[in-house]
């Protein structure tokens, strides 16, 4: 028996030992093949899952993947760590925020805990982790706010979370979202992971998403008063009410399951959360074109007219550039991040990959050309462009047009949900490409939207209110029906009279500060770059820092080199007074409008693109662009002059040579 135990223990021990915080499956043993994952599944109690058991519990990633991988290390990775972001050290390259949008209250608030300028931290919005997951959980790989266990004794805890979290469970990091290459991995349909999120079945998300089993029951629909008071008993009761039925064909004779796990997630996995859709409209002529601002009718099935990123088209994958180690800190690919002195990282930016990084330690990294990246010639492009522009300015995003495109993104607009819970959200109105100056001083294309929200202001500090708070206070003036579940996908115009009424309602509802000396918060509305407030009975609007647009640089899709701005010496792609690069019309997107006999009219004037390019004056750039009209003439003139000078030099040079020859030969011939 002892011998059997020893042999059994030896057989069960993997070839590599765990070291330190590293799990058995972490790190790299040098073999580049993909390890086959025929594994035992574990539930949240750490018990092996038997699909034939009565009321089996759902799969827990922490306990299943955590058998061989350091779950906590992974859970500190880029996709899961925003709640731990240090407010004192914000990341100065803003990214796509989460957006709290609500058409009824005309709200679109950028939310991020990473300290990105213009985005509000969840705590500033009094958005509890529970509310956060409810708002954004469909396009979310788990962990982070989803794994914060609520302490029932915590007075500051969200009461809803205290009651509902034992029912819904924790939303663990769902490793399978990215690493399961099985085509049955389902994030978006009625039978997939996102529906479980919508039902607040967080505990079941991974099981359903991977197609390991079916789940019946909805946590959202369970009345908490029908449950026993003891938390352990609650869980047991829940598991019997929300039943998991495993697909037994997935389990082998020893209850192991083959999961098609890959190191590098397929592009389609990334696309679920990182897609962008251009909103299209039909023109009267029956053609289809990208919308300018204002979005006409969105037409479906136009994906075929768009090309994908040139890198993907040439065979690369997302993870060829956006790499990570065990810590899952994925490289974002921008130069500031990559130029950390590590050669293998520095060349994962556009510049580093194509041109090399002179600061890198490795000689190969200095040369660039990683993964066969061609070295661009940039023929005829003055070098000042490389100081003033990011690579993406000329190479990425949609080709600039006089009117910006309105786009939707997977995370912000919940794209990719199919079936009953499919959304057709139009808010926020994300505009692109906005060529704005970014933190590193270079101009780059951005996606952008104008924040819109109701809030309170003390001094100069504006605090946004959550849409549901506003809806409760001002449902009537806003024309909201709180008893309907119909979704409103886009905002309706809002006249100043309504704004004044809502502000009045908010002002009446705002509690007085405890300190009698303190100023009473003033009700405000932010939209279209303006702050609206009441001065007595009068509504006034003014510029305010809280109203500036939220913009984040884009890198994809990268266009082919032949479709880059300035290709073949086409200076006029930008240096023309009609060029979108400088003079595209950037609308001040706002629901605020005036009702006239001809309909609703927005009074805020659009701004030229150059207004977002700090340091460039519109008048100057007009003059500068205008000078390009004369440039061909100047080139010809100067070259002709040079030709003439050269001819004279040759003529007199030859004459001088004749004189020298004559002088040397002592002839008396005069020069």
């Amino acid at each position: 028996m002892c011998l059997g135990l020893i042999i059994g223990a030896w057989a069960a021990t993997p070839g590599r030992a765990a070291t330190g915080d590293q799990g058995l499956g972490d790190g790299d043993d040098g073999n580049r093949s993909t390890p086959v994952h025929v594994i035992t599944l574990f539930d949240d109690l750490g018990r092996e899952i038997d699909p034939a058991a009565e009321n089996p519990r759902p799969v827990s990633m922490r306990h299943t993947c955590g058998q061989c991988h350091n779950y906590d290390t992974i859970a500190g990775g880029w996709h899961f760590n925003s709640r731990k972001a240090d407010p004192a050290n914000p990341d100065d390259r803003p990214g796509e925020p989460w957006v709290l949008s609500d058409a009824g209250t005309r709200t679109q608030i950028p939310v991020s805990n990473r300290g990105w300028r213009g985005a509000y931290r969840p705590a500033e919005l009094r958005l509890s982790p529970w509310q956060w997951v409810k708002a954004f959980g469909t396009h979310y790989p788990g962990g982070n706010y989803g794994e914060i266990k609520v302490d029932p004794d915590d007075e500051a805890a969200d009461p809803e979370a205290i009651i509902r979290q034992p029912i819904s469970g924790l939303y663990e990091v769902n490793c399978l979202v990215c690493h399961n290459a099985d085509r049955r991995q389902d994030q978006g349909t009625d039978a997939g992971a996102s529906m479980q999120v919508a039902r607040q079945n967080y505990r079941w998300v991974a099981t359903v998403g991977a197609g390991l089993g079916r789940v019946s029951g909805t946590a959202l629909a369970i009345d908490e008063f029908s449950l026993p008071p003891d938390p352990d008993q609650i869980t047991r009761a829940i598991v019997s009410q929300i039943t998991t039925t495993y697909d037994k064909t997935r389990f082998d004779s020893v209850n192991k399951v083959f999961l098609d796990i890959v190191r590098s997630p397929p592009d389609a996995r990334c696309y679920f959360c990182h897609s962008t859709q251009s909103i299209m409209k039909n023109t009267p002529a029956g053609e289809v074109e990208a919308t300018g601002h204002g979005a006409g009718e969105r037409t479906e099935a136009l994906a075929w007219i768009h090309d994908q990123d040139v890198h993907l088209a040439s065979g690369l994958t997302c993870t060829d550039c956006h790499r990570n180690g065990d810590d899952h800190m994925i490289t974002r690919g921008h130069e500031e991040q990559s130029h950390g002195g590590l050669g293998h990282v520095s060349t994962l930016s556009c510049r580093g990959c194509h041109l090399g990084d002179e600061t890198a330690d490795a000689a190969a990294a200095q040369k660039g050309g990683r993964l066969g990246a061609p070295r661009p010639r940039h023929a005829g492009i003055p070098t000042i462009h490389f100081e003033e522009l990011a690579c993406t300015a000329c190479h990425s995003g949609p080709w600039p047009r006089s009117e910006l495109e309105q786009v939707r993104t997977a995370r912000v607009h919940k794209l990719g949900l199919h079936g009953k819970h499919a959304a057709n959200l139009h808010l926020p109105h994300v505009l692109t490409p906005v060529f704005a100056r970014q933190a590193d001083g270079k101009i780059a294309p951005h996606k952008m939207f104008w924040p819109a929200f109701w809030g309170t202001m003390v001094g100069d500090e504006v605090k946004p209110m959550l849409p549901q708070e506003v809806a409760l206070i001002a449902a009537e003036p806003l024309g909201l029906n709180l008893h309907t579940t119909d979704r409103i996908n886009d905002w309706e115009p809002l006249d100043e009279e309504t704004i004044a009424q809502v502000l009045g309602a908010i002002a009446a509802d705002v509690p007085l500060p405890e300190d009698e000396q303190a100023a009473k918060p003033e009700a405000v509305y932010i939209a279209g770059g303006k702050l609206y407030r009441l001065d007595g009975e009068t509504l006034i609007s003014q510029d305010h820092s809280a109203a500036v647009p939220y913009a984040w640089p884009i890198a994809h899709n990268v266009r082919p080199a032949t479709q880059s701005l300035g290709m073949d010496g086409e200076c006029a792609d930008c240096h023309d007074n009609t060029s979108p690069f400088f003079f595209a019309s950037v609308p001040l997107d706002t629901p605020v409008a005036q009702k006239t006999q001809d309909g609703w009219i927005q009074t805020l004037e659009a701004r030229p693109m150059v207004a977002f390019q700090e340091g460039i004056r519109p008048t100057y750039i007009r003059w500068f662009n205008w000078s390009f009209v004369f440039r061909p003439m100047m080139k010809i003139t100067v070259l002709a002059c040079c030709g003439l000078i050269a001819a004279v030099l040759v003529l007199y040079g030859l004459k001088a040579l004749r004189c020298v020859a004559a002088a040397v030969s002592d002839e008396n011939e005069s020069c």
Partner: protein, 213 residues
């Protein structure tokens, strides 16, 4: 680097001119009186006038020469001042001004080269100067010859070519990034050389005028 080199080269050139002015005076006896200094300044000023005795062609030539000098001055200020004083590359309105006067300068230089080439051709007199230099008969060598302004004239004509062509060619999609950088360097150092040559040329021409007047 370029800014440092430029500053030193320009300072040294001006110093050489000043030293030469005092070391090899045009007149045997200088008039240091107030009236003399005023007369000297007026004389310099009159050099920028178009004398009646000149023919129409002569006046046009001088006009072109003066316009060329003026545009060169503007190009020098717009090109060098940002670098020397602010350590910045030329940009903004300064760049526009620079680019506006560049073709004017090129045209003026072309006309001036055609117009003054015959006058500035090297003759037997210059050959004799070379012979004096070689045979160590150096007395009056630095004051008696027109070789200086003629040589600087031709040197300027030669330098204008890389100066202008380097920038014009960079506007065509021919050279890549490295080529662009090389062209910029060529432009910068040609400009510096031209500045030195121009300072010497104007000085020598003015010396000659003082002498002949």
């Amino acid at each position: 680097m370029f800014a440092t080199i430029s500053a030193w080269v320009i300072v040294i050139t001006v110093a050489v001119v000043v030293v030469h002015w005092f070391a090899c005076p045009v007149a045997e006896k200088r008039d240091w009186s107030f009236g003399g200094l005023v007369r000297c300044k007026v004389h310099v000023l009159t050099m920028f006038f178009l004398p009646q005795e000149l023919s129409l062609v002569g006046r046009l030539k001088k006009l072109v020469y003066l316009v060329g000098l003026l545009s060169f001055l503007i190009l020098f200020l717009t090109g060098f001042i940002p670098r020397l004083c602010f350590g910045q590359a030329i940009s903004g309105y300064t760049l526009m001004l620079h680019a506006t006067f560049a073709p004017i300068f090129a045209v003026c230089v072309a006309i001036a080269v055609v117009g003054y080439a015959q006058q500035c051709r090297l003759t037997r007199a210059e050959w004799e100067w070379v012979q004096r230099l070689v045979s160590c008969r150096w007395k009056g060598l630095l004051t008696d010859s027109a070789l200086g302004y003629k040589l600087t004239f031709w040197a300027a004509a030669v330098l204008v070519l890389p100066l202008a062509v380097s920038m014009i060619i960079s506007m065509y999609p021919i050279f890549g990034t490295h080529g662009q950088e090389v062209l910029l360097v060529v432009h910068q150092y040609s400009a510096l050389a031209l500045v030195v040559v121009a300072i010497l040329h104007v000085y020598l021409v003015m010396r000659l005028k003082f002498k002949t007047d």
